[in-house]
């Protein structure tokens, strides 16, 4: 397989963005071109998914080039079992989000689409970059498009939310930048594969800097307060991408960098992260319950769900890690779909206040049926994708310490509580007069939701293709953490 596939995957949306920028301002045309553009990375990601060799742990396709030769920084992309699912998810979610919100944005359509396409390039790059500086570039490049997406097409408090989102993430990532600089000084390289074999100094501090950056992005309690605001104020497609993909950048970073580069510290810090994960699961669910705003409710549910991912990551065994990986994908699909649902409702009611709804299931039966699928996927009902991921995480947690699993299982109860509460208030109950005038589900909305529901069922019923592609990578990572930890004494490293 030619290695330029990776570059093509990453940069095809960028090319699309340029194209959209150059085309005349005819909204329909622009939207069509944008959607067609996103099909390119989808096709390429699909091909990667198809071609992925099973049982191979390393990066099975890499691409190298010189980038800043003067300081020995390279252009290095690569895909393995850990990044592949996320690449596939990204390539899948963007067209779905674009189709699902076809004409939800009616002002400055060109800018909107250009930003979304830029965002896709940045997200894909984040997941594929194998040079730390390149990773950081993509990581930060995500911020600006997202900032504008929230700030320009968001709802009432958009400026505040956009800035808050930016400041929180930036605050963490600059620390990561320092850590990257430190790594460079210590080893003379930022090539991920070379760093794997290098002797790293002051691992504790480096780990901490990386971990804080990722924890804010995840977001891990108590660094999560940017998230409800950003999710709530963002336009629908923005929320879908934000929840579905941007949060994954944090969890992906934890797995890819924190675990892999600093295994000893990761082991030492695992209890802390597990605790934070479990706190996040319970806290997010508890806070979600009394939110009057549907979008805020979904946003807090993300805090809860991402807690599972962190928990699974740091139990440091194959089931937990595989579950965490799968749960990243699942959360992307389910919560992305949830935000799409809210977007469909918002299109009709222009409010997100749960009190304004009631009886939607009577007026929009198909929509309600699809919604229930999504809700139960989010509530991890067996047969849906959520169950597979959460169960694996719980299994991993149980192996580590049954008490963690027991606490986390509490989150399973709570997710049913708040999600069904939402369903009861929005979809059920007497039909409110305002709701009676709701337009039925439109074809593009339906198409996006059906695509998501099919993904929900695919992973729920037959997750093998996903699990098999990451299994080897997961196992080798777990072994790496375990073996290094045995070889060296765990601890918080020295001072930088």
């Amino acid at each position: 397989m030619p290695s330029w596939v990776l570059s093509a995957t990453v940069f095809s949306p960028l090319a699309g963005a340029v194209l959209v920028a150059l085309l005349p301002r005819r909204d329909g045309l622009l939207r069509t071109v944008a959607i067609l553009t996103t099909l390119l990375p989808l096709a390429l990601a699909g091909w990667l998914f198809w071609q992925a060799p099973l049982g191979e742990a390393g990066f099975w396709l890499t691409e190298r080039g010189l980038w800043v030769p003067a300081v020995g920084i390279g252009y290095h992309l690569g895909v393995d079992g850990i990044s592949l699912p996320l690449v596939a998810l990204t390539a899948f979610l963007f067209p779905v989000a674009l189709v699902g919100t076809w004409d939800a944005v009616r002002t400055r359509v060109k800018e909107y689409l250009v930003l979304l396409l830029l965002l896709e390039t940045a997200v894909l790059g984040t997941f594929l970059a194998l040079d730390l500086l390149l990773f950081y570039v993509f990581w930060e490049a995500v911020l600006v498009p997202m900032y504008f997406l929230i700030g320009l097409w968001g709802s009432e408090r958009r400026a505040y939310a956009a800035l808050k989102f930016f400041l929180f993430t930036m605050a963490g990532s600059v620390l990561m930048l320092l850590a990257i600089a430190g790594l460079y000084l210590a080893t003379g390289t930022l090539d991920f594969l070379r760093l794997l074999g290098a002797e790293l100094p002051a691992q504790g501090w480096l780990f901490a800097a990386f971990a804080v950056a990722f924890a804010i992005k995840v977001p891990l309690f108590p660094l999560h307060t940017w998230l409800p605001d950003a999710h709530t104020e963002a336009p629908t497609a923005g929320s879908v991408i934000l929840a579905g993909l941007l949060l994954k950048m944090g969890t992906y970073g934890l797995v890819r960098f924190c675990l892999t580069l600093f295994p000893e510290v990761a082991r030492a810090a695992a209890p802390l992260f597990m605790a934070l994960g479990v706190v996040g699961i319970l806290y997010g669910a508890a806070v979600a319950y009394t939110q009057p705003d549907v979008k805020r409710l979904v946003a807090y549910s993300s805090v809860s769900h991402l807690g599972f991912v962190v928990l699974g990551t740091f139990v440091l065994n194959p089931q937990g890690l595989a579950g965490a990986l799968l749960q990243m994908v699942n959360h992307g699909i389910s919560t992305g779909a949830l935000f799409l649902l809210v977007g469909v409702l918002y299109e009709r009611a222009h409010t997100r206040d749960m009190d304004a709804f009631g009886g939607v299931a009577r007026v929009m039966p198909t929509f309600a049926a699809l919604s229930l699928f999504v809700v139960f996927s989010s509530a991890a009902l067996p047969g849906t994708n959520g169950f597979v991921g959460e169960f694996l995480v719980l299994l991993g947690a149980f192996r580590k310490d049954p008490r963690w699993a027991a606490l986390a299982a509490g989150g399973v109860i709570l997710s049913a509580v708040y999600l069904l509460w939402m369903v009861q208030r929005v979809y059920f109950g007497p039909v409110r007069p305002e709701v009676r005038t709701f337009a039925p589900l439109r074809p593009h909305e339906g198409a996006a939701l059906v695509a998501l529901v099919l993904a929900v069922l695919w992973i729920g019923l037959y997750p093998r293709p996903w699990l098999a592609r990451s299994e080897a990578a997961v196992q080798s990572l777990v072994q790496r953490v375990a073996s290094v930890a045995e070889a060296a004494s765990p601890g918080w490293g020295g001072r930088p």
């Binding site: 009394t290 047969g383 093998r464």
Partner: protein, 617 residues
């Protein structure tokens, strides 16, 4: 063949769900009923094969590898053995009858195809539950039946009470399910497998080295906690009475005959595990079952909503089954499970007929005198009530007798409770029948009549089963059920001889209950039970206590976390930092006065500081 048993109703659900609207009512009903009938016939065929082979080995069909990571590998697989066969027959058999009944009952409903979609989906899910070859597949079914229960309870979702009841059912079940999940994890952690056959193999013969292992005890307790949720046992029973918000056929199928027995099935399925877990069965399962049986029966005495009476009765009867399991009489529990499915479904269908006839009226105080106008319904209800009360020779008598016998052999205290329950059961069953069918019609202008054939024939079928179903397990008939289940529960536990003083006492107690019920309500009056009556009507205050101790605090805690902690502290910390920066920014700006001389002073000050640094260095 086995996967097809599941596939047929699933296909029915799919067809009705996707294109049900275009099939028309007749098409929808045909698809739904035929799917279940097909599943029933397939089950019968498969059961015959099983009966034919004397060892009755469990037959496992693997479909595909479902979840596999490293040493954890689980397949989607079905298992056909006597227990699943029994349950599959009950589910598809009773299910078919209720499907047919529903054709009549729901004939006027605008969401006809949605109803049958759910109902077919339920049957498929229940079959997944009973046919699953490992705990995880069982759990899939377990949760899916919960989902269907949720959907069907809230079928008339525009009624706020229905929507709330559905959610309550799901959430309360989820509490049990969470424990169940941890139980599954424990089993895997302990045994490294979730396959039933493997579990049996590893824990056969009393568990061997693992007997009484604390992990095993924990696993058994957690799994039992899951069972209490689904089977509405103390303390998680509260959802079932509210579940009566659903259409009555649903109550009959899900909340009486099949789904609620899933807990009993689970314990039976993991019988070797429970046996190996040591004291769990005797110390926990039996007392919980007994307590639930008596408690729910007592509450049923004071209910006026006919369906609620039946719901509490169901809870009570499920308590019997757990009592039996706790007493070690697995076959008795499953015998009762089967007969209970017959007579309780019959009772519900009769109640449904009543509702159908009197325009949804279900309050016993506003019913009465239906005896003459609805003879078939009257017959069905009385047969069901008497069977429930354990009056010979109806089916309930035989199965209850087995349980009482086992209880007596197990522990005197349990037996006493069981007898007391028997009395109360007969009392409230008679009370309900009297209030509904005797006396003068409550509304002289109404002309209630027996239901149309689609609803009548299933009732007839269940009347027959309720009356004569006892042969399945009765000693005089050679206890075929016991023999059938023998590979699972073994031979231990002495069979009831159905003779002698023991039976006489039991029958006497039941008759006493019937007589008391008749006597107390013969004039359609409610005897004043004083404070006891009020306590009973209020379910001993359990619901209120839950509200005070769980629901309200949970809501308050959530509110507290959202407002005080999240917005008030966590977010405030971040915005406080931002405020600090902004205040510093404002301070810095005040230095910029626009005055040149001050700026010069600033430059000079900088220079002086520089000097100072080099002097002091």
């Amino acid at each position: 063949m086995v996967p097809w048993i599941v596939a047929l109703p699933l296909a029915g659900a799919l067809v009705n769900g996707l294109v049900g609207g275009r099939l028309g009512r007749r098409g929808t009903s045909l698809v739904a009923c035929l799917a279940v009938l097909g599943a029933f016939l397939l089950s019968v065929a498969a059961t015959q094969a099983l009966v034919a082979s004397p060892e009755r080995p469990a037959q496992v069909v693997r479909l595909f590898e479902w979840i596999a990571v490293a040493d954890f590998r689980i397949s989607a697989a079905f298992q056909w053995d006597p227990l699943s066969a029994l349950l599959a027959l009950v589910v598809t058999g009773v299910g078919f009858l209720i499907h047919v009944y529903s054709v009549g009952y729901m004939a006027e409903d605008p969401d006809y195809s949605r109803y049958f979609t759910y109902l077919n989906l339920f049957v498929a899910s229940m079959l997944v539950l009973v046919l699953g070859a490992n705990l995880l597949v069982l759990f899939v079914g377990w949760e899916l039946v919960g989902l269907c229960s949720y959907l069907l309870i809230g079928f008339w979702f525009e009624r706020p009470t229905a929507a709330a009841a559905g959610r309550k059912a799901f959430v309360v079940n989820r509490i049990g399910d969470a424990a169940f999940v941890v139980g599954i994890l424990s089993v895997w952690g302990l045994l490294g497998t979730l396959e039933f056959r493997e579990i049996w193999r590893l824990l056969g013969e009393g568990g061997g080295a693992l007997r009484g292992h604390p992990g095993l005890v924990a696993a058994a307790l957690l799994l039992f906690a899951g069972a209490t949720g689904k089977s509405a046992q103390l303390p998680l029973y509260v959802w079932l009475p509210d579940a009566m918000e659903g259409p009555t056929p649903v109550s009959a199928l899900i909340h009486a005959a099949t789904m609620v027995t899933a807990g009993v099935f689970l314990v039976g399925r993991l019988w070797p595990l429970f046996e190996a877990a040591g004291p769990v069965l005797a110390a926990v399962v039996a007392p919980v079952g007994a307590a639930t049986a008596l408690f729910a029966a007592s509450v049923a005495v004071a209910q006026y909503d006919l369906k609620r009476v039946l719901a509490y009765s169901t809870i009570s009867q499920l308590g019997y089954m757990f009592l039996a399991l706790g007493a070690g009489a697995g076959h008795a529990a499953f015998f009762h499970l089967t007969t209970h499915a017959f007579f309780k479904a019959l009772l519900f269908l009769a109640a449904g007929s009543v509702m159908h006839a009197v325009h949804g009226q279900i309050d016993l105080r506003h019913l009465g005198g239906l005896r003459r106008s609805m003879p078939l319904t009257f017959l069905g209800f009385v047969v069901g009530a008497l069977s429930l009360s354990g009056i010979p020779p109806l089916s309930g008598f035989w199965s209850k007798e087995e349980i009482l016998h086992a209880a007596r052999a197990h522990a005197a205290g349990i037996w006493v409770v069981a007898m007391a329950t028997s009395f109360v059961t007969a009392y409230y069953a008679t009370r309900a029948a009297v209030l509904a069918f005797w006396g003068e019609p409550a509304d002289p202008h109404a002309h209630p009549h027996d239901p149309p054939p689609a609803m009548a024939w299933p009732m007839v079928g269940l009347v027959v089963l309720s009356a004569f179903g006892g042969f399945l397990g009765a000693q005089w008939a050679g206890a075929p059920l016991r023999a059938f289940l023998q590979p699972l529960f073994g031979d231990h536990g002495e069979a009831s001889s159905v003779a002698g003083a023991e039976v006489a006492v039991a029958v006497a107690v039941a008759l006493a209950g019937v007589v008391a019920g008749w006597w107390a309500h013969r004039a359609r009056q409610e005897p004043d039970l004083g404070p006891l009556g009020r306590a009973l009507a209020a379910q001993w205050g359990v619901e209120a206590a839950y509200h005070r101790a769980v629901v309200r605090p949970a809501k308050a805690l959530s509110q507290l976390l959202a407002e005080r902690v999240d917005a008030g502290a966590v977010d405030r910390a971040a915005s406080g930092l931002a405020d600090l920066v902004v205040r510093a920014a404002a301070a810095v700006r005040t230095w910029q006065t626009g005055n040149v001389r001050q700026y010069a002073a600033g430059v000079l000050a900088g220079a002086v500081v520089l000097f100072a640094y080099w002097v002091l260095r």
